[in-house]
């Protein structure tokens, strides 16, 4: 297998091999428009989308939520939800129009010549069937004999890098780790040697090191099977690393499209430029603020007229507001270039006004004396305990962690899923009892105090949650949500409450009008701001944020990261930020602790950790991150099992 190979080598060689001779088009989508009917309204979720994929080509489709990227994929597979309908355009698969085919003919193609990989591996596998049964099923459905299917199932598992495939073929999905499950799904998708594979966010749910392996696997399969691959993702770093061509979608439209090298070297659409600029970079020194795109991606039902990006575009002129620019070949591209670089923008010629350099105001460390606010000494946390009913040993997840967080500073906690970082966060704010060690917050030891003094702890330490969708009560207005802590803890006298609400809401950069809305009427970024405002209502000295931006769109992530940094500086808060995204941590944190298997394996200030990682695990994390400058020494594909 590809042990020792690194992604870039693999990529470079395959890209060279992929271009000549003039490759056969596997998928050719033209002027596709899909209408979605919601209640009484009908909107075009995607409009005039055209793209093609050749054999051996990887096309990256980038976009934020609501950009229409998944709908595009589903319409190719003819798997659109009932409410959605193709109203215009054609989808040709190897010269055959898929839209004109009978349902039975399409079924034959699906899982046969066209494979699809979805985001959530557990939801896609049948938990009651072994992976072998599931592989054999898809093989048999497409005409393999029983015996062949059995042999091929094992081969497929080997192909996707499952070790000990002969035995693992009889294992159930839950016996595989997340990354291995995703590999099994890929095995299912490529079981019948598809000529076209569509992967919708195949690595979003995975840890970085696992993600790197899966991406490598996809490129390798592309080379071995010569298939065309459509890779849908929100992460432009992944596109840059893996894809041959890229299509940038926003608000249901294609805004820019072309070969990866060209688009990334010379992006002409302001959105592409802003997206590249606002994606936090791992290889850049720590910044005071991340560049952001103001505003949020448009709601599907309330898309602006003209170019969908115009409300957020710094270059927008009147024409952009009324008329959608056509997707046309960038005028300055050399005509002899075989693959066109197309852009839809009235101001493409002036796009250089948006620099690609991140905001370069360097971070200035506050040299205030370091006042510790949180001290964790040898903390241990375990789930389950011996009782009359269960004899099993408690499962220790945090195995002796010592950390200190200081006023006005940010402590980052990184690690992969299952390393105990979230458990530690919950323990700090008192959601989990401590099994051993001590936690001292604001000179008071809280660890052992199960209930006494709890209310005081709440005033000192607050938490911001990961999922802004479930952390706000759907039955309460934002006003209710923010008033409740003030009432319960009697923080502000009744007459001043309204004033305090306004203060809180402006502190997190929201307009007053949100106060009377329900959480589901807000966008993800706005909800997360409400979550932060709610924590601030308690006037805490320490805020623990568990993956505060991982559920948000790229262009909104940077806004929240900046907001947290601003609040920390303005209010002198101590922040503890838990994240799996290293680039976010790098720019937000002063100190970073790397956790593995319930222990801290490395603790250093952010600059040192990212420039001179000491522990091998830290290094492997950095190497695996997309867009990482350390990728040259990337871990082997089978790095994590």
């Amino acid at each position: 297998m590809t042990n020792g190979d690194d992604m870039q080598d693999l990529h470079a060689s395959s890209r060279a091999a992929a271009i000549p001779p003039p490759a056969e088009l596997v998928l050719d989508v033209r002027h596709l428009s899909v209408a979605l009917t919601l209640g009484d309204e009908t909107v075009n979720v995607i409009e005039d989308v055209s793209f093609s994929v050749a054999r051996g080509e990887i096309l990256g489709v980038v976009g934020e939520s609501g950009s229409g990227k998944s709908i595009t994929a589903l319409s190719v597979m003819q798997m659109l939800p009932k409410a959605a309908k193709v109203i215009e355009g054609s989808i040709e698969y190897r010269g055959r129009d898929l839209l004109g085919l009978q349902e039975s003919a399409v079924q034959k193609l699906r899982g046969g010549e066209i494979g699809m990989v979805f985001q959530d591996p557990m939801a896609f596998l049948n938990p009651l069937m072994t992976v072998g049964q599931q592989l054999r099923e898809v093989l048999r459905l497409h005409g393999a004999s029983k015996k062949d299917a059995a042999v091929r199932a094992v081969e497929l598992l080997q192909l996707v890098g499952v070790r000990d495939a002969e035995n693992r073929v009889d294992a159930f999905p839950h016996e595989f780790s997340g990354g291995m499950r995703q590999r099994v799904i890929i095995a299912l998708a490529v079981a019948n040697n598809p000529t076209l594979l569509i992967a919708d966010e195949p690595t979003t749910a995975l840890d970085v090191t696992v993600q790197a392996g899966v991406l490598q696997l996809l490129t390798r399969l592309r080379d071995q099977l010569g298939m065309g691959l459509v890779l849908i993702t929100h992460d432009i770093q992944i596109v840059r690393e893996v894809c041959d061509s890229v299509m940038v979608m926003y608000g249901g439209r294609v805004l820019e499209r072309g070969p990866v090298e060209e688009v990334f070297a010379n992006p002409r659409q302001p959105y592409t430029r802003e997206l590249m600029r606002s994606t936090p970079r791992l290889d850049a020194a720590r910044l005071r603020r991340l560049s952001t795109i103001p505003g949020q991606p448009p709601d599907v039902l309330r898309r602006p007229g003209g170019c969908p990006f115009h409300p957020r575009c710094p270059l927008a002129v009147d024409r952009c507001r009324t008329e959608m620019p056509p997707l046309a070949r960038w005028q300055e591209q050399k005509q002899e270039q075989e693959r066109p670089h197309d852009v839809a923008c009235w101001r493409a010629a002036d796009a250089d006004a948006i620099t690609l350099e991140p905001d370069t105001t360097p971070f200035q460390a506050v040299d205030a004396e370091r006042t510790p606010i949180l001290q964790i000494v040898d903390a241990r946390v375990a789930y389950g305990r011996k009782s009359l009913w269960s004899r099993s040993e408690p499962n220790e997840v945090v195995k002796g962690v010592s950390l200190t967080a200081y006023r006005g500073r940010t402590l980052g906690l990184v690690g992969e899923s299952g390393c105990g970082k979230s458990t530690l966060a919950r323990t700090i704010v008192g959601l989990q009892p401590l099994a051993g060690g001590t936690i001292t917050i604001a000179d008071k030891e809280w660890g052992s105090a199960r209930s006494t003094g709890r209310r005081e702890l709440r005033r000192v330490a607050q938490m911001v949650f990961q999922d802004p969708y479930s952390s706000l009560n759907p039955r309460h207005t934002i006003r209710d949500i923010l008033t409740e802590p003030l009432v319960v803890h009697d923080i502000v006298p009744r007459v001043r409450r309204d004033a305090r609400l306004q203060e809180l809401i402006s502190l997190v950069g929201l307009p007053k009008s949100v106060l009377d809305r329900y959480s589901y009427q807000l966008s993800g970024g706005q909800r997360q701001r409400v979550g932060i405002a709610r924590a601030l209502a308690m006037e805490p000295q320490l805020i623990v944020a568990d993956e505060p931006v991982s559920a948000l769109d790229v262009s909104v992530q940077a806004q929240i990261v900046n907001l947290l940094a601003d609040l920390r500086d303005e209010l002198g808060l101590a922040l503890v930020v838990i994240a799996h995204d290293l680039s976010v941590v790098r720019h937000l944190c002063d100190e970073v602790a790397v956790m593995q298997g319930g222990r801290i394996v490395e603790l250093a200030d952010s600059e040192t950790l990212f420039t001179q990682p000491q522990h091998p695990y830290t290094r492997s994390l950095l190497e695996a991150a997309p867009g990482s400058p350390w990728a040259a020494a990337a871990a082997p594909e089978e790095g994590v099992a």
Partner: protein
């Protein structure tokens, strides 16, 4: 380095105003406007109206004995008379009224008690667990046996029927509350409430309960249907509403002896029971769909 042009951020923060339906309210109204719901509500309203108002217009009282026993339907006795000459229509209406009354007292009690006992687990896990075990035992005993036991212990009569219905239906509310509770507890807003230092009682009643009333409504309509059949089966074994008072179950039981000669005697109350049960189930389904849709 170029300076970037910028967008006025203030212009982006305001979103166009949207109509803000309160979660739930509009949904129920909408669910109740669907065809099956409208039909069953209309029929239920009619039955209630008839049960309340019609007795004033009937020539005979339900316990008034006429001259002719087991008279054929027709004339002044549209459904005929029973074995002691009482007007069957008057008895049918009186029986329906008793059934509606008994179930409308018992099921709300069961709903409130069952739901609250199911929610106790949020405040005190041990107590909550205890009541769940009690519910499981009650669910394990067949309803009719439970009812017979209650009637034997308390003496048959309206009160016994009400207690029996409460004991039989409360466990389903309790189990239901428990499962909704576990769903809600796993949501992050509950953890947020805990970190914000809200008391468990507050979290339970202000945060969790409103998020689960939907399913209680659905279950309520369902259990109303079941309660009607419980009264019926208790009366069939003679432990329901006691004579001379009429009840649907008692009418079915008494009428079954004359099924061949006077089929309307037993069949009329059967039809009323079937219609009532059907209406409640249709209502429950409509509500359930509304809940699922959100």
């Amino acid at each position: 380095m170029t300076m970037n042009p910028s967008v006025d951020p203030a212009a982006l923060n305001e979103e166009p105003e949207t109509k803000a339906p309160r979660p739930g309210r509009g949904r129920y109204a909408k669910a109740l406007r669907t065809r099956p719901a409208v039909a069953s509500l209309t029929v239920l309203a009619l039955i209630v109206l008839v049960a309340v108002a019609l007795p004033f217009f009937l020539p005979y009282g339900p316990n008034e004995q006429g001259r002719e026993a087991l008279a054929a339907p027709g004339g002044t006795h549209p459904l005929g008379t029973d074995e002691v000459g009482r007007d069957l229509l008057a008895r049918l209406i009186a029986g329906t009224r008793v059934d509606l009354l008994v179930t409308l007292i018992a099921v709300p009690i069961a709903a409130v008690a069952g739901t609250l006992l199911g929610l106790i687990g949020a405040v005190s896990p041990a107590t909550g667990g205890f009541f769940q075990r009690v519910f499981e035992v009650l669910l394990g005993v067949p309803g009719i046996i439970l009812g017979i036991a209650v009637a034997m212990a308390m003496g048959a009569g309206e009160t016994a029927v009400i207690v029996a219905i409460v004991l039989i239906t409360a466990p389903s509310f309790g189990r239901q509350a428990r499962s909704s509770l576990l769903t809600q507890l796993s949501r992050e807003y509950v953890a947020a409430a805990e970190v914000l230092g809200y008391s468990r009682v507050r979290v339970t009643f202000r945060h969790i309960l409103p998020n689960m009333v939907d399913v209680v409504f659905v279950r309520f309509a369902m259990e109303m249907a079941r309660a009607i059949t419980i009264e019926g089966s208790l009366s069939v074994v003679g432990l329901g509403i006691q004579p001379p008072q009429a009840s649907l179950g008692a009418l079915i039981s008494d009428g079954s002896a004359y099924l061949l000669d006077r089929p309307l005697y037993a069949m009329a109350p059967v039809v009323v029971v079937v219609v009532l049960v059907f209406c409640y189930i249709a209502l429950s389904n409509a509500l359930n769909k509304a809940v699922l849709r959100s």
